[in-house]
Symmetry: C3
Amino acid sequence: MESFIHWLDLCGVGVFAASGALTASRKQMDLVGFCLIATVTGIGGGTLRDLLLDRGAVSWVNDPSTIVLCFAVAAALFFTAHHIESRFRALLWADAVGLAVFCVGGAEISLSAGAPALVAVLMGVMTATFGGILRDVLCAEVPLILRREIYATAAAAGAITYVALETAEAGWIAQVVGFGVGFGARAIGIVTGFSLPTYRSRPGRVYHPS
Amino acid sequence: MESFIHWLDLCGVGVFAASGALTASRKQMDLVGFCLIATVTGIGGGTLRDLLLDRGAVSWVNDPSTIVLCFAVAAALFFTAHHIESRFRALLWADAVGLAVFCVGGAEISLSAGAPALVAVLMGVMTATFGGILRDVLCAEVPLILRREIYATAAAAGAITYVALETAEAGWIAQVVGFGVGFGARAIGIVTGFSLPTYRSRPGRVYHPS
Amino acid sequence: MESFIHWLDLCGVGVFAASGALTASRKQMDLVGFCLIATVTGIGGGTLRDLLLDRGAVSWVNDPSTIVLCFAVAAALFFTAHHIESRFRALLWADAVGLAVFCVGGAEISLSAGAPALVAVLMGVMTATFGGILRDVLCAEVPLILRREIYATAAAAGAITYVALETAEAGWIAQVVGFGVGFGARAIGIVTGFSLPTYRSRPGRVYHPS
C-alpha cells in the first residue's frame, strides 16, 4: 500500500512535469528552462504541503528520484512535443490528471499527519493547484484557476470525496473514488466548458447556468 | 491578553478574507474559487510568518477555526456582495484593516520569538502585505503594493510604532497605537491618493510631492 | 574559509538588493518600497533554500546584518540611481553577479546539508533565480527567466561546475571556477543576446542557432 501511494505520487509528479514542459514549449525556452519549469510544476504542490505540515526537509531533498523523473519528462518533451498536435489541449489533460492525483494525495498525507478533515480538504486543493499556479506565474500565463471552468472545484470535490470515504474507512476505494471524482469533474470542465454558478454583480443574477 | 491577540488575529484574517472574496467577485469565480482566494488571502501572511520563524506546523493545520472563518466570509460575500455599491472601494478598506492588524501582529509574534527589532519590523511588513500579494498574483490583478499611494509604508509605520512602544514597555497601548498609525497612514493613502516622495529618474527631481 | 563564504553570500545579497532597488526605481516606488523590494530580492533565494533544507529559522531572523545591508543599498540607490545612465542595463549586471554567487552558494549549502549532487544543482539554480523571480512578480515585470537569453542555464552551468569540482575535492577552486562559469555564461547572454537552442514547434526545426 505504501508503495502504491508512492507510485501514485510519482505519477502525479510526472504528469504535472509534462504540463510544465508543455508550457515551457509555448514560451520557446531552452532545455534547462524546460527542466526548471517541469520540476517546479511537478514538485511545487508536494513541497508546499511538506512545508506547511512541517515534515522536516521536503521529501525530494534526500530522494532525488522525483527530480530525475521531472528532468526525464522535460527532456523527452523538449525533443518530441512538436509531434503533439494540440499542445495546449495536452497540457490541460496532463494538468487534470495531476490535479486529481494530488487532491487525494495532499488530503491523505494531511490526514495521516493528524490534521482535521477540513484542513485536509484545503491542503488537498492547495497541493493540487499550487504546482500549476507556480508554472503559470513563472511563465506569465493566465493561471488555469482563473478560467471560467470547473478547476479548483474539481480538486475540492476529489478531496472531499476522499476524506469522507476515508473517514468511513473505505480503504483503497477512498483513493480510487476520490481520484475519479476529481478527474471526472475537471474533465467535464475541459470538455464542455461548463462552469458552476459564478458570481454576478447585478441583484437577481447571482446564479446563472453557464 | 492572550485571547485579545487571538481575537485581533481572527479579525485580521476575516477582513483579508473579505478582500479576497471581493477580488474573486471581480473575477467572476464560483463558490469554491471564492473560498480558496479568501482563505489564501486571510492566512497567507500569517503562514509566511510561521514558516520563516520556524514555529513548527503553521497554526491553522491543527486549529481549523481560521479556515472556517475564511469559508464563512467567502460564502457570505458570494451571496451578498452584489449589494455592495463599490466593491473595489470595499476591498481597499478591508485590505487596509487587515494591513494594520497584521503589521502589528507580525511584529509582535516575531519579537516574542526573540527576533531583533529590525527583523520584527520587516516581518510585520511582510505579514501585512503577503496575503494581499498572493491574492493579487492568483487573480492576475496589479498588486496594491504597486499603486502609487502609501501602502507598504503604512505597514512599516505601524510596525515601527508598535516595536518602539513595545520596547518602551507601553503594554497594550503599543498595539492600539501601532494599529492606529498603520490604519491611519493607509487611510490617508486611500482617501487622498497622496504618496510619499517617489523615485524620479531625472536629476534634481528625486523628490516630488504627489 | 567560513568567513569567506559568509562574505560571498553578503556580496550576492547586496547585488541582488541593488537589482531590486533598480526595479523599484522603474516602478516609481517610495523609499519603503525600495527597501521592501531590495530586501525580498536579496534574501529571497537564500530564504527558499533554508526553508526547503529545513535549517530551522531562516538565517536573517536571528542575524539582521543582511537586512541592514539591503536597506542601505536601497537607500543609497533611492538617492543616486538617477545618475546611472542605463538603469535596466545596470540591473541586468547586478542580477548576473547575484545569479553566479547564489548558484554556487546554494549548491554548496545543500551539499553540506547532505543533499545528493543532482539536488544540489537544482537547489543552486533555485537559490540563484528565486530572488529575481520574486522581484519581477512583485513589480509585475516579465521575469528575466523568460528572456530568450542564457539565464537559468547560466545558473545551472555554474552549479554543475561547482558540484563537479567540489566532488573532486578541488577546494576553493571549485567556488571560484563555479562562479566564473555561471557569470561568464550569463554575461554572454547579456552581451550577445545569444541563446541556446530553444524549442520550436514545427517538426525538423527543433534546433535553431539563435
